[in-house]
Structure formats: structure tokens, C-alpha cells
Symmetry: C2
Subunit: 430 residues, 2 copies
């Protein structure tokens, strides 16, 4: 099978200046990866016309498919169309149906279309227009020199549906995509990258260089991907290897594929017909947000409180004033009281509470910045843990949320297996 080389060109000073994350790489890379294609390369360059022409010329020469993003908009720093047309030796011609679409769009929004918008209707004389359902600048599709060029507008809400609804079907039609992922992924938690490799090595050793292995450490989990670029191992063989890894990892195995920890917890809760309530201080809603990102969350998620002030802990969760006076808000006692309050007020089976000092200010000698207490209230008991995370505020928040999610996940797995934590009250786990 001939290897088809895909290259992604992401354009924009704002990417190089770190003002916008390169979400197009993440989105397009994942869309293609799920269909058996890995991008060969992604190049990000400036908005400057000469740089675009030089880079496009190079990318076009070495690739079968080039995808560009950005620089199709209405303002003076949008120069991609002209630069690429020069390299392809194509003329740009104003596309009247696109002008019409833009006029209608502005009219619908009750806004006057300024003249600088018109250049967005300039399309290649030999090429197709990909209509933009969510914005003004259309995408462009060109087949020339036995290669394919796809040009997409920069705003994600315009690019993403255009890519899935128009580009993916066209690529599939030309036989450039397969039906499935190029790899099988095993998601784990609680094990470092090097220790994970060592644990799984005995499995991998049996397959020699027919098997390709890659590890990727994320905040809160480590992924292991197995693939066979040479095609010597079948899909079924790869799935068997992944299953063997999962079996060896026990509770440290999270899932196959890409589900988040919150999605895995949500599925376990739904499977056991249990509900969840949350109470947060330090993580300030980030844990609740992880659950409410899941469609249909109302099936298992009762609600949550973000209790910054002591008053809010008393008012919303009935945390006793004397407990806060005696132990302070950053304490195992308060974490347990918040979890209990959330479970009772919201009538939930499980509840998790997080309190702590996310920093950079705050903290005490006993509980310095980065200290996090997590409490878990389950039908059969309740427990708390004390943790400490270094790093900036948002890192501490994210790590605390990951720790809470992983704890809940393990407890739900044990509940499903009948191997729950021993019943107890106010047990403290370090």
C-alpha cells in the first residue's frame, strides 16, 4: 500500500506568539487518526505573504494532501489565498454565490456587511468551494498535479463542521481513509511512564519489531498505544495484546481509547444506578465541570457547591461553625463534613469534596500551598486523603480534580466487583 503523506499548515502569528492554542492540529490530527491516517507533519508559520508562499511551495512538493488553516478572513492580515494561488499558478475569481451567502448572513444577523468582507468570496478558478455554514469565508478544495489541497477558515466553529461534513467524506471517497484507528490505546492511571513500560515489557517482548509501542503521559493518566505500522499484526492481534495489558494492570487500567476519567466514572455510576454530589473549595467548580461536560449528566449528577467562604459552607452544606472554628476550612474534618453535607442536601449516593490551598497565596505551616484534602462519601462509609501538589494554581486544581476522579473510579470499580473499601467513618488514607 502506498503511503499517503498528509501535511497540515497552520497559519497565524497568534499561534507563534502563543496567543491561541493550536487546536486545529489537535482536531484535524484526531479526526484523521481515528480513520487510520497520521499526519506526517504540521508546520506553523507567520501571516506574512512571502513566508506562506515559500512554506506552501515546500509542503506541496513533498506531500500528497496539504491542509491549510487560517488567513482566509476579511482583515488586512489575511493573505493565504493570494500566496497559495501564486504558487499553484491559479487565478482567483470572485464567486458570486459566496457573495450572496455572505450578504444573506449579514442581513440575518442584522449587521451591515463592510467592503473588506468581499475578498473572502475570491476562489480558485480551477477548484471547488466548501460552503461555510457558520461564517463568511468558504473553504477551498483543489485537485492539481495528482495532489489535493484543502484550505479551511481559522475559527474552530467554522472549520470543524466543514472538516467533518465536507472534507472527510471527500477524502474517504478517494480511498485515502480507513474505517478505524491506526492503533489500540490502553489508558492507565497511578503508574509512571517508565514503570508502566517495565510492567508491560514481558507482553511486548513476545512480538518483537512487528509491534510498535508508544507511551504518552498526561496530567492524571498515562496512555500506551500499540500498533503495527508494518501490518504484520492484525487488528484482532492488537486488540488481544491490549486486553492482555489491561488484565495485567488490574485497577490501574482505566479504559481502552480516549474516555476521560469523568466519563469512566459517569458510566460506572449509570451502570450501578447511583448518583453523585460534589462540594468544592480549592478546585472551584473544575470537578463539577468535568462531570457536566458529559451529555446526559443529569442522569447521575445531582449537583455541586463551590463554597469559598465559611458562610457558604454553613449555609449550603450545613458544615457546623464549631468544626470550622476548631479545624479550619483546610482540614480532613471539613472535607468529610462537606462531602456529607453534599450527599445529604442533594440526596446523592456518592459525594466527593475537595478543600485546600491552590495558591499562590494562602497556606499555613501545617498545610502549605498545594495541600489538598479530598473526602469520599460512599453508601458504605467515608474516607479522606491528604495530598500535596507543587506548581501553579491551575495545575494544583487540575491535579486535585484528577486525584478525586481516580479515587472515585477505583471505588466504583471495587463496588462493581464487590471489593469495596472496608466500611468505616472518617477513615483517613494518606
Amino acid at each position: 500500500m502506498r503511503v499517503v503523506r498528509f501535511e497540515l499548515l497552520t497559519l497565524g502569528d497568534e499561534l507563534l506568539l502563543g496567543l491561541t492554542a493550536n487546536g486545529h492540529l489537535t482536531f484535524i490530527g484526531a479526526q484523521l487518526g481515528r480513520r487510520g491516517v497520521m499526519l506526517a507533519r504540521n508546520v506553523t508559520i507567520t501571516d506574512e505573504a512571502d513566508a506562506i508562499a515559500a512554506q506552501f511551495s515546500e509542503s506541496w512538493a513533498r506531500s500528497d494532501v496539504v491542509i491549510t488553516t487560517g488567513g482566509l478572513g476579511p482583515t488586512c492580515d489575511d493573505r493565504t489565498r493570494e500566496a497559495v494561488a501564486a504558487v499553484l499558478g491559479q487565478k482567483l475569481v470572485r464567486n458570486e454565490s459566496t457573495v450572496q451567502h455572505m450578504l444573506e448572513r449579514f442581513a440575518r444577523l442584522g449587521r451591515k456587511m463592510t467592503d473588506n468582507n468581499l475578498k473572502q468570496a475570491d476562489c480558485f478558478e480551477r477548484g471547488e468551494v466548501l460552503p461555510n455554514a457558520n461564517g463568511t469565508a468558504p473553504g477551498l478544495w483543489v485537485e492539481q498535479d495528482g495532489k489535493i489541497l484543502v484550505m479551511l477558515p481559522g475559527p474552530p466553529n467554522e472549520l470543524q463542521p466543514m472538516f467533518t461534513d465536507q472534507v472527510i467524506p471527500r477524502l474517504a471517497q478517494r480511498g485515502l481513509l480507513t474505517a478505524r484507528e491506526a492503533y489500540v490505546q490502553v489508558r492507565t492511571s497511578g503508574v509512571g511512564e517508565s514503570a508502566l513500560e517495565t510492567r508491560l515489557q514481558p507482553v511486548f517482548d513476545r512480538f518483537g519489531d512487528a509491534l510498535s509501542i508508544a507511551f504518552c503521559a498526561h496530567a492524571g493518566h498515562v496512555d500506551c498505544r500499540v500498533s503495527s505500522p508494518s501490518g504484520r499484526l492484525s487488528d484482532e492481534a492488537l486488540q488481544g495484546i491490549a486486553a492482555e495489558c489491561a488484565g495485567m494492570l488490574g485497577e490501574d487500567f482505566v479504559c481502552y481509547g480516549h474516555d476521560s476519567l469523568s466519563k469512566v466514572c459517569a458510566d460506572l455510576l449509570r451502570g450501578q444506578e447511583k448518583t453523585l454530589a460534589l462540594a468544592e473549595t480549592a478546585t472551584g467548580g473544575l470537578l463539577a465541570n468535568a462531570f457536566t461536560d458529559i451529555s446526559g449528566a443529569s442522569k447521575f449528577f445531582a449537583g455541586g457547591c463551590v463554597c469559598y467562604s465559611n458562610e457558604s459552607k454553613m449555609q449550603l452544606l450545613d458544615v457546623p461553625e464549631c468544626l470550622l472554628a476548631q479545624h479550619g476550612a483546610v482540614s480532613a474534618e471539613n472535607a468529610v463534613a462537606m462531602a456529607t453535607g453534599a450527599a445529604e442536601k442533594l440526596g446523592a449516593d456518592y459525594a466527593m469534596a475537595i478543600t485546600g490551598f491552590a495558591g499562590p497565596c494562602g497556606g499555613t505551616k501545617e498545610n502549605p500551598v498545594g495541600t489538598i484534602y479530598i473526602a469520599l462519601h460512599a453508601p458504605h462509609g467515608m474516607w479522606s486523603k491528604k495530598l500535596n501538589y507543587p506548581g501553579p494554581r491551575q495545575t494544583v486544581k487540575q491535579r486535585a480534580v484528577n486525584a478525586a476522579l481516580d479515587w472515585l473510579r477505583r471505588e466504583l470499580v471495587r463496588a462493581a466487583n464487590g471489593t469495596s473499601l472496608p466500611a468505616g467513618r472518617h477513615g483517613v488514607m494518606q
Copy 2:
């Protein structure tokens, strides 16, 4: 002044497969951008040794400074060190102080160091080691052929402090950085990109091609950057131009620079010594999270509730059962009741509530998926707005949060200026 060309090489299949966002580009791009340098290019390629060698060779030839990230770790897919050494014609030698550091680190964590870790101590024979305070693999610094090579480990919590604490000072010492940003940024909201350009064009026209202008549309705001790459306009002149733009935009001007909408609201609340409470359904904690990302949030943020079930709305916020029965949870009435409940329960001056259908399931004929009601409770009255956002669940959540933040920002600006909304109760703004 000679232009110094910086190129960033980000390595890893996980980036090309869209499994991890390219946060290194965002971080390093912003760090350099704030010091007067814009990356000339970022190239992301696969973990494969030949591809790394070929790309590094090309990047090294055309650049003054090359920064690589990733592929320095302990597992079999970490191959950057060897590939780069071959291109530079350098030998790798095991660095004993790094081995010692790794052994100590593993001992401190109570873990056994597996043998695959040792290769992380292999360093260039002619080069410096950048110690890794937060992990095992050190960074590497090489000066050769009048150029600089910086190699950084992939995990962000290791890379980021290494970059700010060790790489930035070394680059500054060699005169490659300046003290300030290469541009002045005006952040706006409520105006589209093309309309913004049209409004500001009269200002820009006066400066001709001495002034370079770029626009960048984000979810919730549009940024306009003014710069003078030729150096013909001074920093003071650029600041004057930005101030003139800000003046023309009135309330649509958010801030100079990079502050988030929540940070701007937080500063306004602190400046006016007011407090804020929140109540969310559809956005599920995302709004609370935006405020609690701000250090010292407890100064102005009383707390918030994420009320998914009707019971939680009644229990936590005293929303009357009859109101929910009559109008439903997705209604202006409930939004206002939730905001009022939050303000009263939490004793806050301002409160915002968001309810709606984030989708993809749910929705009614009158209130289809994407319908969002926002209520604002202020010391002098309360109002609600009905909005509708297309798109996937997380987009709807983010847009609703942005709309709430921008509404609060405008009301706080008006309060500061004595031009608040007319006093009222249950006013509905479409």
C-alpha cells in the same frame, strides 16, 4: 539589527494524532513573545528517528536558535537525543551527576528506578546539562556553528520551569531577548473581526505601512495587535495608538494585554469592594471555575451552586417548587430565582445564574438545544437575557459563560461610571 531566527521543533506522534494539545508552542511562543521575539516557525513531526534527524538537520541549517521538545524520556519511543547527536556529529556520554539525581529522585518517591531510565542521563560531550527539578530527564544546551540548540523534556511541569528559570536567562545573557512585548494588544468584545477593523481603520490609516495590524478572534473576544516591525513607530507611539482605539470602542474595549474576562470582572469587583455569587445548571461549574482560576478569588467570590436537579435548586437556592412547576427549569423565571437565591444565601452584592440546554439531548420546541437564559442580580435591580448558541455541548457551555462574563463586565464598568442599567425587577433583555 540582525533578525535572529528561532525555530521550535515539537516531537511526538501523540501531537500529530491529536491526542495531546501542542501546549509547548503556546507556552514557549508566549514566553518569547513577551520578550520581543516571535518564533519564525514551529514544526511538529513523528517520533521516528530518521524523520527527527532529517527535520532537525533542515531546521538547524536555516535557524539561529532551535528548541526541541519531547523524546528525551525513558521509554523505547524516546529517540530525539540520538537522532540529533548524529546530525551535530557529537557523541553522547553518560552524565554521572544526572544518574545520581535520578537515583535520589526515585528514592525520595519510594520507587525503584527501572533500567530503562538510565539513557536519560546521556548528554552531549560538548554541551551543558539543564537540571530537571521536577522529573528525571535533564534538558540540554549546545552552542555550535554559531547557533544555539536547546532540548527540553516533554512533560509541561518539567519543561516550563526549566524554560523560564534556565533557558530565558541564558538567551537574555546572549542579547537575544528584549525587555518587552513585540506588540501592543487591545482586547475587545461584542464586535466581529471585520466590523472592528472597519471601526478602527481611520486610526490606522494615519500611520500607513509603519504600522502593522493583526486581528485574532477568540471565543468571547477579539484581539487587535498593533506593532511596528520596521521600528519606525516607538513604543510610546504604539501605546498611544492602542489608547486611541480603546477610546473609540467605549464599553466594547475590555483591556490592554491578555487578561481574561473573568480577571477583568474580578478587578472591577475588588475595586468596587463588591462580592459575587453564582448559580449554574447548563454551564455546570465552568463559570465558577473561571473565577476561581484567579488567585485571591476569596476576596470577591462568595461561592456558587451547580444545580442539576430541581431538588438541588429548591434545597440549595430556595427556588420555589411552584415556579419550577409553572415555568420549568429552563426559563427566565428560574434564572432570576436562582440568581436571587444565590445572592441571598451567599450574602453577595452581585449574582449571576445560567440555565439552559447545553445539548446534544434535551430541549423543547420553545427552548431548543442551545437555549441559554442568563440572569444578573445587581444591588440596583435584576434582569435576564435569552440567548441561543449552536454547536457541541462544550462550545455552548463556553459561549454561555463568555456571555455572562461580558454582561457582568459591562454592568460593573457602568457601575464604576455611574451609568448603570435602569433600576428594575425581572426586566428581560433580548
